[in-house]
Amino acid sequence: MRTQAEVNSQYMLQANSIAMVVVLIMFGMLFATLFLGYAVYRLTAQVWPPSGMTALPLLIPAVSTILIGLSSFFLWNFETQYKVGAKQRLPLFTSIFFGLAFIASQFVLWSTLKSQGLFAGSNIFTSIIYAFTWIHVGHMVMAVIGLFYLLPLIADKAELKPNRVINVAKFWHFLGIVWLLMFFTIFVI
């Protein structure tokens, strides 16, 4: 028979997991709507990219992809070890570092686009690039705050709260996947 403490802990795990699934569905729907709109614009356009546009910079988005991938990898590493009780600080710090570097890379991307004369209002494609990256970065900022929220957990005397780590990581990896889709659909193909 389970003790009351075990029941309570099991409940918290279940409630938080369900809530996180709902959150991911919600954000998934938001980004799915954006991608749906993009698909409509692209599939119905007579010329793509819109005439007069030079090639998009590929290097910076590729670097961004590597940065967010590394960040996700180190967070996964931290999460795996934390779940078995090891509070490894380095993977979490590294993940935060790469996460912040990703956000910085997006500022570089916007600056590069502007230097090429591509502004948010230039045409529908640039509108898509700017709006999608703005919205994604907005979510990344929230997710970075989530990573900082994990910092107290790595103190030596801190109570183990694997549930919190799992949920923040789910959101972080989700944003990584969204970026990957953006990278391939907007910049590569």
Partner: protein, 577 residues
């Protein structure tokens, strides 16, 4: 067997912790109720102004007209008229109906009816309310901007809603307010879904839940899935207006590449059609329960009702295109959407028949909640049936954008939900505030409301069928519409009658809360769901001991009962022969 028990939170003692930043679901429910009633008043006043203009074009609005529109001598100007119908629709749908049915009764009823002490995430719940307040302040603030509030209709179709159609900040603030309110509602949805899945009392299976909870649960699921779709749409609209992107611009306005104004319509209605069910599902659930309670017999086909509501929820996600038949949609698509729309009739007919089955041979008690529930059966029946003409391509092409549409959706979304909301207020008043509302005045309120309401909405369908277009400031400049002036006057008089009837409710409500001395008993309606097993008003911890559920929510009129009651509490074993 051990089961999870939420901790009993300390009783709030200060005004701030008790009424302002309370984590208690009951207080948050009441906060949403006051919020919704306030906006119901604002939106209702706007409706009266719209009706005045349509009945008496060019005549100053009485009493407050000169103060509100001094530059025109009290006459409502055309641009203000557009703002009024835009803000009326927005306020009634998002800021009145949603907070009352979902915010107030969702928060109040869910933990009490499933045997929990609070929501799964009380802090998130509180943030949800205060975010709604921020949104409401922004929306009302937009009324005072230099070029006025949004005027592109509650659907805010581009190009009416882009900078081309709506210069100024009013439309931008509208979009921002809707985005924030969407965030607030999705926070609530997370809480409702999680709470219902994880905090049901031991023994309470999904089909042991009251149908009120089914309605609220399905609503929360729709909210979680489809509000982000609207969120994405209004976010892009904000970008178009503020940062100069070109998502919804077309033609000359988009100088290179091209946006697509119709895309916003798709995004809006992918959200918007489920939104109809988001609003109506809680009322359906409440009415399904109340019909059984006051017929003194089990809900007929309760499982089928729950499954029908679930089917309607699923189908509601597939039919949005019927709002766009006139946008040059491919005939293949229009026929697909029409067929899907018609299939909703099947589960709707099942649960409507179940309502009638519940009433059949019942020992009906015509209490005020029952009267309002019967009102819902009538108006929803009428609203649902008239929807068939709008879901059918051939008839919709004629009726689209006429007052027939306005009458139809007011019957389904306004009348049904308003009457359902009143049924809920009269029914749960003793558990919320510890007081009963006057039954006599409640019944007076009901009958006058019913007369006024049908005069307004049936009249709208008649003038719409005769060809009167919606959104026209003065339709009577067209000769063929001039013979509709008397009918429009009748609609307006009915609207004022309906408005006046609400004063009866306000006086009854305020008197009961602030001046009445006689306390309500713990179970004045003699029903067996969990909230009626505890004192009135519900104590701050709800349940001292988490109840164990042993039977369904509608165990009424069991001939084997020997307790002197004609109902069983859900905590009692089902009495069998």
């Amino acid at each position: 067997m051990a089961f999870y028990e939420q901790p009993i939170h300390p009783k709030p003692t200060t005004f701030l912790s008790k009424y302002m930043i309370s984590f208690d679901h009951k207080v948050i429910g009441k906060q949403f109720l006051w919020y919704g009633i306030f906006f119901l008043f604002v939106g209702g006043l706007m409706a009266l102004m719209i009706r005045w203009t349509l009945a008496f074009p060019g005549v100053p609005f009485p009493v407050i007209g000169k103060a509100l529109f001094p530059e025109t001598g009290g006459v409502i100007p055309p641009d203000t008229y557009a703002m009024l119908f835009t803000m009326h629709g927005t306020i009634m749908i998002f800021y009145a109906i949603t907070p009352i049915l979902i915010g107030a009764f969702g928060n109040f009823c869910i933990p009490l009816m499933i045997g929990a002490r609070d929501m799964a995430f009380p802090l998130l719940n509180m943030l949800s309310f205060w975010l709604a307040v921020v949104s409401g302040v922004i929306l009302l603030g937009s009324l005072f901007t230099p070029l006025g509030a949004a005027a592109g209709g509650w659907t805010s179709y581009p190009t009416l809603s882009t900078l081309v159609g709506s210069p100024g900040t009013g439309q931008t603030l509208w979009s921002l307010a809707i985005f924030i309110l969407g965030a607030s509602s999705t926070m609530g949805a997370i809480n409702y879904i999680t709470t219902i899945i994880t905090l049901r009392a031991p023994g309470m299976g999904y089909f042991d839940m009251p149908l009120t909870i089914w309605g609220l649960w399905l609503t929360a699921i729709l909210n979680a899935i489809f509000l982000p779709v609207l969120g994405a749409g209004v976010l892009l609209l904000i970008f178009d207006r503020v940062f100069g992107t070109t998502f919804f611009l077309a033609g000359a306005a988009a100088t290179s590449g091209s946006g697509d104004p119709v895309l916003f319509q798709h995004v809006f209605w992918i959200f918007g059609h489920p939104e109809v069910y988001i609003l109506i599902l809680p009322a359906w659930g409440i009415v399904s329960d109340l019909l059984a309670f006051f017929s003194r017999k089990p809900a007929f086909g309760a499982k089928a009702t729950a499954l029908s509501m679930t089917t309607i929820t699923i189908l509601s996600t597939l039919v949005y295109g019927h709002h766009m038949f006139t946008t040059q949609m491919s005939p293949l698509l229009t026929q697909t959407f029409m067929t899907l729309t018609m299939t909703i009739s099947i589960p709707s007919a099942i649960f409507f028949a179940n309502w009638l089955g519940t009433l059949w041979k019942g020992s009906i008690r015509f209490t005020s909640p029952m009267l309002f529930s019967l009102g819902v059966v009538f108006v929803f029946g009428l609203g649902g049936l008239t929807g068939l003409y709008l879901g059918t391509v051939t008839t919709d092409l004629y009726l689209h954008d006429t007052y027939f549409v306005v009458g139809h959706f007011h019957y389904t979304m306004a009348a049904s939900v308003l009457l359902g909301g009143f049924a809920a207020i009269y029914f749960w008043m003793p558990k919320m505030f510890g007081m009963m509302l006057s039954e006599f005045w409640a019944k007076v309120h009901f009958w006058i409301t019913m007369v006024g309401l049908n005069g307004v909405f049936f009249g709208m369908m008649m003038v719409g069928y005769a060809g009167m277009h919606r959104r026209l400031y003065n339709p009577f400049v067209y000769e063929f519409m001039q013979n509709m002036i008397p009918m429009n006057k009748m609609i307006t008089y009915s609207a004022y009658l309906m408005g006046a009837a609400q004063l009866i409710f306000v006086v009854n409500f305020v008197h009961a809360i602030f001046f009445k001395k006689e306390k309500a008993s713990d179970n004045p309606w003699e029903v067996g769901t969990l909230e009626w097993t505890i004192p009135s008003p519900a104590p701050h911890y709800n349940f001292d001991k988490i109840p164990v559920v042993k039977c369904g929510p509608h165990e009424l009129g069991n001939p084997n009962l020997t307790t002197g009651r004609d109902f069983q509490y859900q905590t009692e074993n089902l009495v069998e022969a």
